[in-house]
Symmetry: C2
Subunit: 209 residues, 2 copies
């Protein structure tokens, strides 16, 4: 069950792709699969699939391959989806709105429990079923509910300072949409630079074969 070797960064980044594919196989009613099939679908070698799965403690059966549902459940467990973490969203502008309404937090290991904004005109409106709360309630809210993570949808000028404040209030993870990099001690930060992948597309198209 436990992981054999420390999972490499690249393997961790592949986890969501495994997960998505397994969900699809499951929806199609498929009970078993093999490293060969997974490799074909994900454009990877069967060897790599077996290495990855084995290092995450997922095991198949010689001759028969992997049980789809069991494998999907194992990957959920490895990613921590079975113990959802509470999260708050900071910034209820257009970006915060789309994130709160389009991201399936519950299916990704999180539970959104609060949304905050500084603008008075947004207070009281709801987003994703949660009332938008004034920023100055943040401290007491954190003291009461101890959110594990925060989603930052702020202008880049205020993101770093807000991140530091949140960490001081006990937040251990930040999903950062604020168009800037953030550095904090004692917390995991994942920054989403949407634009980066658009530049990558530009590069690829200009170097297209």
């Amino acid at each position: 069950m436990a992981q054999k070797h420390e999972a490499s960064d690249s393997a961790v980044r592949r986890l969501p792709r495994y997960y998505r594919l397994l969900q699809e196989l499951e929806r199609n009613g498929q009970n078993h699969t093999s490293s060969r099939e997974l490799g074909k679908r994900l454009d990877m070698t069967p060897s790599q699939i077996r290495q990855d799965l084995s290092c995450f403690g997922c095991h198949g059966q010689q001759g028969c391959g992997y049980a789809v549902t069991e494998l999907r459940e194992n990957i959920e467990r490895v990613m921590g989806l079975e113990q959802p973490l509470s999260a708050i969203l900071i910034g209820a502008g257009s970006l915060g709105k789309v994130v709160s309404e389009n991201v399936h937090f519950e299916q990704r290991g999180f539970r959104l429990i609060g949304i905050f904004d500084i603008k008075p005109e947004l207070i009281g409106k709801t987003l994703a079923g949660l009332a938008i709360t004034p920023m100055h309630h943040l401290e007491s809210f954190c003291a009461a509910h101890h959110p594990a993570a925060a989603v930052l949808c702020l202008p880049k000028e205020s993101a770093q300072a807000e991140a530091e404040k949140l960490v001081a209030l006990g937040v251990r993870g930040i999903w950062n949409f604020s168009h800037c990099d953030i550095v904090v001690e004692q917390a995991e930060v994942v920054t989403v630079h949407l634009d980066d992948s658009l530049m990558t597309l530009s590069y690829k198209m200009h170097n297209q074969t």
Copy 2:
């Protein structure tokens, strides 16, 4: 000027980070930098910085380092930002709205020239300064304006079919926000799975030190 060796995938993925940092140095009025400084800022070794830049045909000067503006311009050229490509956006729902209004296409090598949606109630409204156009005008629009790229903000059910249609109409690149993978011949596809990075955050937080 030309690239020495074929640029590795990982180096290409680092290009946007170089670009962002150089823009910042430039804004701060800094004229020169070194692989040492860039490395420190990006948490990379000076060696790697020099390898990357050299393989993109960006050169410095022994003893003095790199000229910031020249380097930024070179990277723009490598990424193709100097020859913007025309793009259309398909799907003007909440996701399409945020993408059209929050992404700086012009600064990322693209020019948004049309927005399409199938819903009658959206037709005529504007987004990012462009009137939303009915989907059945797509074909004649493409014949007239030859957009190079398309941004897909569609439900996942229709994304693959729409992508194929677009490629048949001459589109050579697709920036896909449709929560599904897409496979097409003859076009570059960059798919954005927002959720993936949230799962990565979950993994990291559950394996936090």
